[in-house]
């Protein structure tokens, strides 16, 4: 547990250290590794709150985000610290006055949970293949949409809110096997905000 806190803290401080770079207006020709946006998310199986930098490609149709998530014991019954890699495709982009909408988003995420209670490779006590999934690494499929606009009063080039329907691996497996039990339980909801630099 102590080690996972250390790693989580280290990642958080790295993200904070990167902040001055990201806060500056994005310059044309900035190196690829400089993030062009940041996201803050509520829920979605990766923590109560998750935050981190993101990179957009192909005229903002493709986005990649790295989020550090946290859920406190007081709310989630145990402390959870996660590191999530999220990839998203926004095929449509509609603008109306200063508003811009991305009505349909499809994506995938891999979320790693820190801690000794979870495994990435099967512990020695099991024969190979004993469990076919990894409790530390959670794949998920995402469906969503977003709406945003510039907020000059806050000095933001673009602020958007988004929602995501999150289908984690265990929900997908149980839904395919047991549609009448799972029903809409295939998805949970995540809400979030993105700021473009």
């Amino acid at each position: 547990m102590a080690r996972s806190w250390l790693v989580g803290g280290l990642l958080a401080s790295m993200l904070l250290a990167a902040h001055p770079v990201r806060a500056a207006p994005r310059e044309a020709g900035a190196p690829w590794y400089v993030p062009d946006h940041a996201a803050l998310q509520f829920a979605g199986s990766i923590g109560m709150l998750a935050a981190g930098p993101g990179w957009a490609f192909l005229d903002e149709q493709l986005e990649l985000e790295v989020l550090v998530g946290w859920a406190p014991r007081a709310v989630a019954g145990a402390d959870f610290v996660t590191l999530t890699l999220k990839g998203q495709w926004h095929p449509f982009h509609v603008t109306h006055r200063e508003w811009s909408f991305r009505p349909f988003t499809v994506g995938a995420a891999f979320s790693y949970t820190f801690g000794d209670d979870y495994f990435l490779t099967l512990p020695d006590r099991y024969v190979s293949g004993y469990y076919w999934f990894k409790t530390a690494l959670r794949p998920a499929l995402l469906l969503g949409g977003s709406a945003g606009r510039p907020v000059p009063s806050l000095g933001l080039r673009h602020l958007e809110g988004y929602y995501e329907l999150v289908a984690t691996d265990y929900r997908i497996v149980q839904f395919l096997q047991n549609p009448s039990t799972v029903k809409t339980g295939l998805f949970t909801l995540a809400l979030g905000a993105r700021v473009r630099f």
Partner: protein
């Protein structure tokens, strides 16, 4: 005024479990399913004759377990014990689905813990949703003991299953009644602590256990060891469960299909 609307919606959403903070979150939902099943059972006083049912592993076959629980309603059983592997991944949501199903069953329903229920924060989730993993109770003059036999999940520490706890629970049995034990992994299976197989079988024989019930292998089987009958229930997707009829001295275990 309109700014209240999203807040209200958000509150509504939280209460209907639309948000998940983590796959292994331990919050809300059904609590202490086993204890509440026992409360229901105690209102139903039985003489020396009664029936109970034993359901096998559920795992990824929740729709089949719904059918099983429906079928139980027409069998005149006093209660049912599910033999563990309530879930496949130990996730909070799977625990919720299964605890809800057992809670809504027409008869009191209890569950033992299986190896698939112990992954991640699974043990904490079981304690939250179902209660202690060791449970002893009496019904119709017989004694029933549920315990954790998933030795491999703990790395074979030598005290899973806890034979001392089992010994004292079996020792308190009322005179004249039968003794029934329930645990997920059967003794003799590679996932059961090999150093405890003989001691467990010996202990159950000494105390005159009538039947020892198990799951885990997914296939029905039965044998007798040192005078004690051992039964393994089919996993639920095979659409069968065990029906046990106790009439005084006689105990009949029947495999029924639905």
């Amino acid at each position: 005024m309109r700014s209240w609307v999203p807040c209200l919606l958000l509150l509504l959403c939280v209460s209907c479990d639309v948000f998940e903070l983590h796959p292994y979150e331990i919050r809300g939902g059904v609590r202490d399913t086993n204890a509440r099943a026992l409360e229901r059972l105690q209102r139903n006083v039985s003489g020396g004759s009664f029936r109970f049912a034993v359901l096998g592993d559920i795992g990824v076959y929740q729709d089949d377990s719904v059918d099983a629980v429906k079928d139980l309603a027409r069998r005149d059983v006093d209660f049912v014990v599910q033999m563990g592997d309530l879930t496949e991944f130990s996730s909070a949501q799977e625990y919720d689905w299964v605890a809800g199903l057992l809670e809504d069953a027409s008869v009191p329903a209890l569950a033992v813990i299986g190896n698939h229920d112990l992954l991640g924060k699974g043990r904490e989730l079981y304690l939250h949703r179902f209660g202690p993993t060791f449970l002893a109770f009496e019904h119709g003059g017989s004694r029933f003991v549920l315990f954790d036999s998933n030795s491999r999940e703990y790395g074979f520490p030598g005290n899973v299953p806890d034979l001392e706890q089992l010994r004292s629970a079996l020792g308190e049995a009322p005179g004249g009644g039968h003794l029934f034990t329930f645990s997920h992994v059967p003794p003799g299976h590679p996932d059961f602590d090999g150093s405890l197989t003989e001691p467990l079988e010996q202990l159950q024989a000494e105390h005159g256990v009538t039947v020892s019930f198990h799951g885990h292998t997914h296939r029905f089987s039965t044998d007798a060891r040192r005078g004690v009958r051992y039964f393994i229930a089919d996993s639920i997707e095979l659409h069968s469960y065990l029906l046990v009829t106790v009439e005084g001295e006689s105990v009949a275990v029947e495999q029924v299909f639905f």
